[in-house]
């Protein structure tokens, strides 16, 4: 599942002197269409043919949601430890896996958080990334999520959390499990200040992340096609012997079952979030709403271009 967009490597037959240009084309992970890489990247990695939303990096998400140059990552120096001394017999230890994971992904953990502006609105943004340890919730991710909510309280910012996770990190055992309680408590504390929490569920959002902060948003937005659920499809089939019908646990399935408020395509997410923050803040935090006009045309997402002010 990891490399949904595999790089196509064009072979230049018989011409040794010519360099292949491997980054020029990508193949869509769903419809297999060959796509011009730059256009695809400019479309936030959404396939123009079939609408498939490929997975994004933390940097891609920042570019998608925040105003240019407004992102300021905080506490990037948080590093995982091995609280249990997790050493499964005959398998690589957690300490070994952490070392190779950082080398492979070039990342230090599965989440980043910080401040920025979204359509001029001050926000606290946290992003999970499947690229590191399958986005699993361990101590560092839990701590960053909790701090993102506390930043929201301290600086009167709306909180946006973009989830992408396989669930709780087994290698941290109960320490990981308790991050569910910790992040849920932080979300709850944040809610007491009547600042909005917008939760974005992307592919995939599963297990302990679905069962904690990710589903506590004042508004829950899902990305088209994203797999969202508690138990993963493999666990359901193994445990119950039930075969999942096609389309089970997708964003659209969750919308139909009343579990998410909106399924929103990538290109519309920023405008949707801005609109929601303004709607929620009008009475409770009027200062947040200072850039908004008295009303916006019905059904027309309003996008205000702003300089990246903090």
């Amino acid at each position: 599942m990891r490399n949904l967009f595999r790089r196509a490597l064009p072979k230049v037959a018989g011409d040794a002197g010519q360099e292949a240009v491997p980054d020029l084309w990508v193949r869509c992970g769903r419809c297999r269409e060959m796509l011009y890489a730059r256009e695809w990247a400019e479309a936030s990695k959404v396939c123009p043919k079939c609408g498939f939303h490929a997975r994004l990096t933390i940097g891609d998400r920042v570019a998608l949601l925040l105003d240019p140059n407004s992102w300021q990552e905080l506490d990037a120096d948080l590093r995982p430890t091995d609280p249990l001394g997790f050493a499964p017999a005959g398998r690589p230890s957690y300490a070994e896996k952490l070392a190779t994971e950082s080398l492979d992904s070039g990342q230090s953990e599965a989440a980043a958080y910080g401040r920025g502006t979204l359509d001029g609105l001050p926000v606290s943004l946290a992003i999970l990334d499947m690229g590191y340890f399958a986005g699993t919730l361990g101590s560092v991710v839990g701590e960053k999520i909790a701090r993102a909510f506390e930043l929201g309280i301290a600086e009167r910012r709306a909180v946006i959390v973009v989830s992408a996770s396989g669930g709780a990190r087994q290698q941290e055992g109960v320490v990981a499990l308790i991050q569910m309680a910790k992040t849920a408590a932080a979300a709850q504390a944040f809610g007491a200040d009547r600042l909005p929490f917008i939760s974005i569920l992307t592919d995939p959002t599963l297990g302990g992340v679905t069962a904690s902060f990710a589903t506590l948003g004042d508004c829950i937005i899902a990305e088209p096609g994203a797999v969202i659920g508690f138990a993963g499809p493999r666990i359901i089939e193994q445990t119950t012997g039930e075969k999942l019908p096609p389309g089970a646990q997708t964003a659209e399935f969750q919308l139909r079952h009343g579990m998410v408020d909106q399924v929103v395509a990538r290109r519309d997410q920023k405008a949707m979030i801005a609109r929601l923050i303004r709607l929620f803040s009008y009475s409770t935090h009027p200062a947040q709403d200072s850039t908004a006009p008295a009303s916006t045309p019905h059904g027309e997402p309003r996008v205000v271009a702003t300089a990246g002010v903090q």
């Binding site: 590093r79 609280p83 499964p88 087994q170 290698q171 055992g173 408590a185 302990g208 999942l244």
Partner: protein, 329 residues
Amino acid sequence: MSVVLDFERPAAEIRTKLDATEKQYAANPTPELDAQRIDLRRDFANRTQAIYRALSPWQTVQVARHPLRPQTMDYAIGMCTDFVEFHGDRVFGDDRAIVGGPARIDGRPVMLVGQHRGRETRERVERNFGSPHPEGYRKAHRLFELAEKFAMPVVTLMDTPGASPGLGDEERGQGWALAANLATLATLRVPVVCVVIGEGNSGGALAIGVGDRFLMLEHSIFSVASPEAAASIVWKDAKFAPQAADALKLTAPDLLRLKLIDRIVSEPVGGAHADPSAMIATLRSTVAGEIARLETVPADRLVSDRYEKYRRLGSWFESSRPATPVGSV
């Protein structure tokens, strides 16, 4: 009904001899038989104690799952008076894997909520083997709010292989139900005492296990996932459950050492199943003591202490600060 676990066999063999000797003595009370039976009693107690003092994590898992181990309904009846079982989530149905309702412990009204696995096959199926559906967690949520409304301390008893992972559970929002309970328990304005009485696995246990005090019975387990589920993630094969139990640090002594739980409640020699009524009496006085202490704390303070307790839990390196400890409790 008698169930002997593999590793209990050496003690069980002494027990068989003891029972025979007791019978002989009853028929023919000679001084030799009397001396013999006293020796055997002592041997049995010593051997049982030795076995239970040195349980491996996987053996602990088997004790935690012992079919004769007292379950939530045994505590509801044996530990409480006036227990009234409340049914249903008022939306979809009544989940039999979670039971709960108001009751008294030492005269003090409390709200009791726990998972119940059942014993005979039919009951076990009816209760989905202690794996709650979303409506079970929503029933629990309703009872938590009732407890707050009527200023009753909450007592939760965890005993579950995990939240139910079926298609219907997904359609009814299992993850959403669990998350709502975590958030509500975090800010509930009454004392919350949580006890793992058997197996406390994954978010399915945690969703009734966030509180001011977190206790484990001596031979219970508390884990991010069942050893089988963790084995199928780490080894890609559930057969490695014993190895997973070793790696996960899921026993009460390990978790207390890591400061992830508050207290261990001693079990009778040979485990809770060896003497259920002694176990129930011990838990009753333990929980009553915890509640009495928590009731002296003002509600605002209770909630902020609880927040701080969970806020501190975790372990990471941070260059700008000293290394953090694992737990805080």
